[in-house]
Every structure is written in structure tokens, then in C-alpha cells.
Subunit: 345 residues, 2 copies
């Protein structure tokens, strides 16, 4: 694709006043590059509509002279994490971390034996623990994510992510990432895009491993935050994590988080649930060339099949909007030749 883009760039110089011709050339190059297996930047993607839409978007936005050209500084690509970059079943992975932490911390909290939602967690009754809805989850999160320094928390997450195993795949959670999305992240970066995670998960939970797993540095992770408090200790300053949620980067919070952390509107956004709908709308409303993508979990065999009625990663209204507006919906079963890096090909 790099060579192809250079060709377009060379063509672009002579045809800046004929954008339609540029678009046709871009389309032809996309078609050509898709056919060339050896140089395929997205080998785990089936050569269907989703892959073609991605290739066309990148060719169009990176070809000077093309009507949809986007200057490098504005090439912001935002990805939801849970269900978009890595799996989210049978339970959000950060929630698995929370449950494990409750068990690890239980000896220091004898009162939890009699107190919900902790009592249910300790009895192995996940459904009962989550029956209290968001307040119960918030209580579990603050109890396990606060009371330590930011550095201590990063170490706790790092230790957990290195040792915990996914209940179905019996592998580290960081291996339960989608191979096609890893390819897409690399492809976008190779074309001058800055790739961001924009997740409802905790920003410090994700930063603890995102650079190693996705190549996304800490400063390009946008997520939910808790209050931290600066404390000057005899050994030096620390930031203490307080038991207070500061900002929830989900649903309508995602455009707010993007605006706060990045200060630019993405031109490319991928999500998978109704929690990404507003971020996708925000991206679409930017004008110019935009890409809005949704991962539709349709593969019960290799991963999971769920959408409108799922408690986790519910995809209902956003799916309707995607269909109505022509956003790219990835049918996991059809569009992905491989789901996880560990899958046989």
C-alpha cells in the first residue's frame, strides 16, 4: 500500500483540479492492492465490503489531490477496546480483574463476608454480584481500584494480566485480541494515523499493557478516570488513587472524553456496541471523509454471537443507525479469516 500511495501522490500533483479522476485512480489502486496478496496490509480480513471500505478510506485520505485528503496532523483514529480490540465475553476483562481483586483483598476485609455485592463475589456468584447494577459495580470498582498509589496500581494490573487466564481460551487476556484489528492498527499507523483507544474502561488499567499489546502509547489512551490526590511522602511524591469515580468515558461520555483528552475530532472510529454510538455520531458529523465502523459479533464458534439483547456489549440502536447511514458493519464470521492471533489459519 505504501508504494500504491506514492503512485497516487505522484498522480495527485497533476490532477489536483480533477478530483473525480483522482478518486477513480484511488479506487483502481485499492482494487489492485487488494488483489496483491503478498503486499496485503490486512491479510486476516476477507476481501469483502468492510476491507474494501477501509482500504478506500485510507487511500482517499492519504492521497494529496484526492478530494478527501486529510493532513497528517488530523489523522486521528479512535478505537473502542472491549469487544472491538479484544473480546469482552463472558465478562468485561476489567470486571474479571475486579472479581479477582475482591478475592485477593478479602482477608483484609472480613466485613465483606456479610456485605453485598462482595458477599456474592466471594461465594462465586457473579450473577448475584452484578444484580445490583451500576451502583454495585461502582462499589466493586472503587473498592479494588483505590487506596494505593498510581504506580502500585499499575504493578497490580501488570501482575494480574501476566498471570490471569481467560476462562474459555485458557490464555492470557492480552492474547484474546483480534488479529484483524492488530493489522488495522498497524496499517493506519503506517499511513500516518495516530491510533487512540477510547474506552469505557479505566485509563490506567488499559495503559498498563496497551503499548506492549497494541503499540498504543499511554498518551493515546482515553478512558474512564478516578480522582487521584497528590501526596508528598518522606520518600517522595505519589499520586494516591481515591475511591471516587471522576469521569465515565462511555456512551455520551465518549465524545466528551475525546474532546477533553485529544481536543480533535477523529476521522476514523471503530466500536462494537451502543456505548460507541455517540462517538460514531460525533465522528460522522465532522464533515469531510470519515470512517465509522462497527464490529458485529456473529461468530459463536470462534468467538461469540450476540447483539441486541446482550447484557455485555449490547448492540441495538447503533446497529440500526449504522444500517441507516451506511456505516461499515463488520460481520465477524464472514469478514474475518482469523479472529485471534492463536487461531489456526
Amino acid at each position: 500500500m505504501v508504494a500504491a500511495n506514492e503512485e497516487v501522490r505522484a498522480s495527485g500533483r497533476t490532477i489536483t483540479r480533477r478530483p473525480c479522476t483522482a478518486s477513480i485512480i484511488v479506487a483502481l489502486l485499492v482494487a489492485a492492492s487488494t488483489a496483491v496478496g503478498a503486499n496485503d496490509p490486512l491479510p486476516s480480513w476477507d476481501d469483502g465490503a468492510a476491507k474494501r471500505a477501509i482500504l478506500a478510506f485510507v487511500a482517499e485520505t492519504t492521497s494529496p489531490g484526492a478530494p478527501g485528503f486529510v493532513p497528517p496532523a488530523e489523522r486521528i483514529a479512535a478505537f473502542d477496546n472491549d469487544g472491538t480490540l479484544w473480546a469482552e465475553q463472558p465478562l468485561y476483562f476489567q470486571l474479571a480483574f475486579v472479581l479477582d481483586r475482591v478475592k485477593a483483598l478479602a482477608p483484609e476485609h472480613p466485613e465483606w463476608k456479610q456485605k453485598q455485592p462482595f458477599k456474592a463475589v466471594l461465594a462465586g456468584d457473579v450473577k448475584g454480584a452484578l444484580a445490583g447494577g451500576e451502583p454495585a459495580i461502582a462499589e466493586l470498582v472503587t473498592a479494588t481500584h483505590a487506596g494505593m498509589t498510581t504506580e502500585e496500581f499499575t504493578k497490580i494490573v501488570g501482575d494480574w494480566i501476566a498471570s490471569a487466564r481467560h476462562p474459555r481460551f485458557k490464555r492470557p487476556y492480552t492474547e484474546c485480541v483480534y488479529q484483524p484489528m492488530l493489522e488495522l492498527l498497524g496499517y493506519l499507523r503506517a499511513n500516518g494515523f495516530k491510533t487512540y483507544i477510547v474506552s469505557g474502561g479505566g485509563v490506567e488499567f488499559i495503559r498498563a499493557w496497551a503499548e506492549r499489546v497494541y503499540g498504543i502509547p499511554p498518551e493515546q489512551v482515553v478512558g474512564s478516570t478516578g480522582v487521584t490526590r497528590f501526596e508528598l511522602r518522606p520518600t517522595g511524591p505519589v499520586l494516591m488513587r481515591e475511591p471516587k469515580i471522576e469521569f465515565v468515558n462511555d456512551g455520551p461520555g465518549k465524545p466528551a472524553g475525546i474532546n477533553k483528552f485529544i481536543g480533535r475530532r477523529p476521522v476514523f472510529t471503530f466500536g462494537n456496541s451502543d456505548g460507541d454510538q455517540q462517538m460514531l455520531e460525533w465522528t460522522a458529523a465532522g464533515g469531510g471523509t470519515r470512517f465509522m465502523g462497527i464490529v458485529h459479533h456473529t461468530d459463536a464458534e470462534r468467538e461469540w454471537a450476540y447483539d441486541r439483547t446482550s447484557h455485555i456489549g449490547k448492540l441495538d440502536k447503533a446497529l440500526d443507525e449504522a444500517t441507516a447511514k451506511g456505516w461499515t458493519v463488520v460481520d465477524m464470521k464472514r469478514d474475518w479469516k482469523r479472529v485471534f492471533p492463536f487461531d489456526d489459519r
Copy 2:
């Protein structure tokens, strides 16, 4: 300096097990480059201790083989804005914006004629308006910074900054920036540093002009934030600015803001007041090679002279700590050959 660094790099390969030698070579190169006026990256800096400390830091952190080498990804440089990159007297510039906005909005708010602190602002009594301290300022800020979309706010700031004039210099506020600091920003970036603003000011106020003035893009501005609310209008989605301060990025809030927005600890930090003390401490505590700098306003003739007793940009405890710990204190009168770009040389 680039050629000098390459020489060091070449030397570094052969002397990785002799870091002391590498340090001496670095020091010699710094001395040499300082003497060469034509290639001087910091021409508005006097060849004194402050400039030497900056050059030595950059040479040390960017020379592979040097004991203080910092990988490019970790080269985070944080700058306070008010009093560090641009002036802050006789009044923080954002506060001048607030006062102008109160006057502009007064016709829509007849009740302000009888209500403090608005009444004092409208009577031109700035001192009286600010006598109410932080609650009064917060009231003025929320009244002028909320009730519009983020895009409308950016336009309001852009219009104001293009037309308002500094009361003493009779120039746009964006010209009242420090020439030596513009050179420093460019020099750091040329050496692979990512330059960030970490300001107590509002993040969207600063982003409206920071890229044009400092070359710092929106995603590298950390500042105070207000709550925004996503709203889907018939014409498309907007983010409404709510009259609620969300996060104050000042004093102990600065390390918290750095941790939240950047997720990495800076290796180079410049401030000018006690509001930067915790950010400087946080930087110093990172271990390895670190640079902590303070601009000391000592030039009543070209700029202002103020420190321990000033209401604006008070520099007291941080000055004591800088002296005790050997941080770099810039004496504006002595260390800067030129203060503003418009100064005659």
C-alpha cells in the same frame, strides 16, 4: 546541535561501557556548540548557567551511550503557560478574556448590574471583582465559559484573541510570548521531545491558539476542564459546555492532570510559580536525568519583577525548593537577551 549529537551518537557506540567518557564528550560538545553562534539553537539566551544546563540536559538525554540517555518515546517536556510561556501581568490573560466577556454578555444579563462580582466588573473595578477570591472567579468563569457548544466557544476565544490588546504592550496577547521559550520549545522538538502545555488555564481556551503560537497541537495541551454534555440536535451532535468546573489543573492538580492526560512522567518541566511546585517535584522524583526549570520574573523594565508577595504568579516555596535542590532558576533580566519577539535586540 544536530551534527554535534550525531558525533556523540557515533562515539556512544564504542564507549557504552565507559559512561564517564561519554559524559565528558557530551560536556565538551555542549561547550563547543554554545560557542558557535551561527548554530546556536537558543540565541535569545545568555550564555550563562541556565542555558548551559539546558544544552547539557538535551545532549545527555539524546546521546545513545550516555548514562542519562532517554528513549524518544519517553521524552516528555511539560511547560506551564501563564508566566512561563507568555506573560501573566497585570492579570492572567484568560481573566482579561473573562472580564471582556462579562462586558459583552451584560446586555443579556440585566441582573448583573446589581450582583457581585459582575457589578464590579461592569464598573471597571477589577480589584473589587476579584476581592471575592476563588469563588468569585469561579462564578465569573462559569458564567462566561458555559452555555455554548465547544465549537462556539473556540470561535469566541479565537475572535477575542485576534482583537484584544495587552494593556501595556498594545499588542495581541499571543505576541506577549517569551522569545527564549519559543526557541526552547523548537530546540526540544528538534531533539525528539514531545512538548506539552500543563496549565491551570482552561484546556479549550489554550487549544484555540496554542498550535499557531507555540506549535503545540491540541492533544498536547493539559489544562483545567469544565463538564461538557453530549446533545443530539436536529442539525447534528454537539458538546454543550456546562457551568460546572470538572478539574482544576493547578498546584497538586498538575501531577494528577499529567497522569490523567499523558500517563507518563515528564523528564523536563518548566514553571514559574508555586502552582508549578508539585509538577516540578513529580518530575524530579522520576529518577534518571531530569530537568526542573523556573522562570524568575526579575525584569521590571522589559517585563515585570515579582515573586514572593505577588497575587499573580506567586513564587515563594518553589523558589526555596529550587535553590535547595539545585533546579535551574532563570533570572529573566540576566539570562534572557530578548524577552518578547517584538523586543529590539
